[in-house]
Symmetry: D2
Subunit: 182 residues, 4 copies
Amino acid sequence: MNDIETIVNEIESVLRHLDTDHVNDIAASLLQAPRIFVVGEGRSGLMGRAFAMRLMHLGATSYVVGETITPAIQEHDVLVAISGSGKTEQVVRVSEKAKSVGAVVVAVSANALSNLAAVADRLLLIPAATKYQVAHELGSVQPLGSLFDQCVHVALDAICLRYAAATRENNGSAFARHSNME
Amino acid sequence: MNDIETIVNEIESVLRHLDTDHVNDIAASLLQAPRIFVVGEGRSGLMGRAFAMRLMHLGATSYVVGETITPAIQEHDVLVAISGSGKTEQVVRVSEKAKSVGAVVVAVSANALSNLAAVADRLLLIPAATKYQVAHELGSVQPLGSLFDQCVHVALDAICLRYAAATRENNGSAFARHSNME
Amino acid sequence: MNDIETIVNEIESVLRHLDTDHVNDIAASLLQAPRIFVVGEGRSGLMGRAFAMRLMHLGATSYVVGETITPAIQEHDVLVAISGSGKTEQVVRVSEKAKSVGAVVVAVSANALSNLAAVADRLLLIPAATKYQVAHELGSVQPLGSLFDQCVHVALDAICLRYAAATRENNGSAFARHSNME
Amino acid sequence: MNDIETIVNEIESVLRHLDTDHVNDIAASLLQAPRIFVVGEGRSGLMGRAFAMRLMHLGATSYVVGETITPAIQEHDVLVAISGSGKTEQVVRVSEKAKSVGAVVVAVSANALSNLAAVADRLLLIPAATKYQVAHELGSVQPLGSLFDQCVHVALDAICLRYAAATRENNGSAFARHSNME
């Protein structure tokens, strides 16, 4: 088995545990959100940005916490907060602030018992190895949280697929919103 | 004269040459824009981001080219394109693309004879030293384009001041839009 | 088959076509590089950033084109340039500039006949659907270039796995370099 | 007096209060730092990035907290932490973490009695209006913390000027480090 097969096998072994009802429920709550904010640090944050970008292509109003033109979050907005360990301080703190103004917090984490899971309204549990590589996570030969990042990427793109189906977006309508200045 | 006085004197000597009618005209075109996009590389780009952020606080719909959720630019949108030399390829290229879809291009540059100035609908000429430190620019003891960046910062904030006056925004309304997740 | 299974199947069907010798050769050239630069636009760029971050954790000196402290690229440095279509202008242009100063260009693309492939010293061909969804790409039910992004993510992490093996980095040494300010 | 004159006058009235010994002391501590990290949120953060970029041009090893390839901060590194109010939670928290590993914290703030000032080893006090527009700050007709941002910009560039003088950097050597991929 080469490295790529190893990684794909690891991804499959984690995603098999995903609750597809949770995936669908989260897609449903995003469809009702006036605006969707995404927060994450490190590689989790980059997967969050990829999600926010695709949601914009699909017609959503989305923002990345920390980028230039991100406004104040408000009641009924949804915050998607990504942290493998569920204890990244900046992510937990932003989630608490969002919660305090009445926003809905969707956590994406490997840890159902974390501070992030505690503050969240909904949890998408992705039981993959994080950089702490602790017992409740499925193991990985990969360094740090690579497996978690890969599984987050696929899981969030599954949410996009469902979102696109519900809004009847197709490749053409998404293409029209895609940046035309690259 | 200490370093700070030297820098402030340099800034003043450049800004004295600014055409305040141009500043006001640009503010007026931004007030009519459905959406405002900003592009720049390096420190010019950072000044552009600061401008886009403040415009958002003041109620505008603004975007930074290259950030995550920036959509396609369309007819009637305004692109503010910043390049001291007026020849930064990425900035010129983005301006040409914006122009080709019918957007209005406002150039901010030290060089009235540049490619950027040529493609632009409006030019805010800021004759400060850039990193090329060429003849038509006012000299500076500072390295690279620091003086240009400083003057762009003040000039764009003068546009914000005028924009805020026209929209009757005050500190309270701007504060309400400011990110509440820091 | 639920959405997640669909996506994982699509990923597998593309990655089956990857040339593992190419993956290993690219890892080898990165191991010899004094510095590694990464460039990409949109979601491809985000995957590139995730790669640059992990390479830093693994002890490499890596930079993202367009970020704040990225210096001039020089002879012998490696540029990893990602573009599904191989025709993203900014990516092609940066690759040409890197090439002109004697840097090594590694292209990651779905298109072996593109401008990007033409300028590159090495090509990692990932024949997945891009946002143009053209004939030489494997099809996808997903919007735009999602499948390409997913496959790039896994392929670049396979390179990381090989890089880590060669440098004998482990989770502990990588963790020590990971940002301690989140 | 037009808007630009108004802004320049405000900047001058604040910078007159700056302690030039502090400016010089901070330049001296940066000259001794193995690595310089910069943190700030919003427009303060953008001014921090402009500073980190110029320091790189001048030969320093600098990083922006939150960017892709920023490594762990270590003993003796310097963190420049910018917050007008001195109470931006993310900035205070990062400063505390940096301090806990033995890094030197330089605060740039309008508030000498803030949490940020308390954790800092050195303080560059810039008594300009912030977005809270409170009593110990000099007033401004500008919205939010624009005056603070402008004064931070000039003050940090004065530090750059001193840094360049000490390292005998000139425009040519700085230009050679400037990104050649724009």
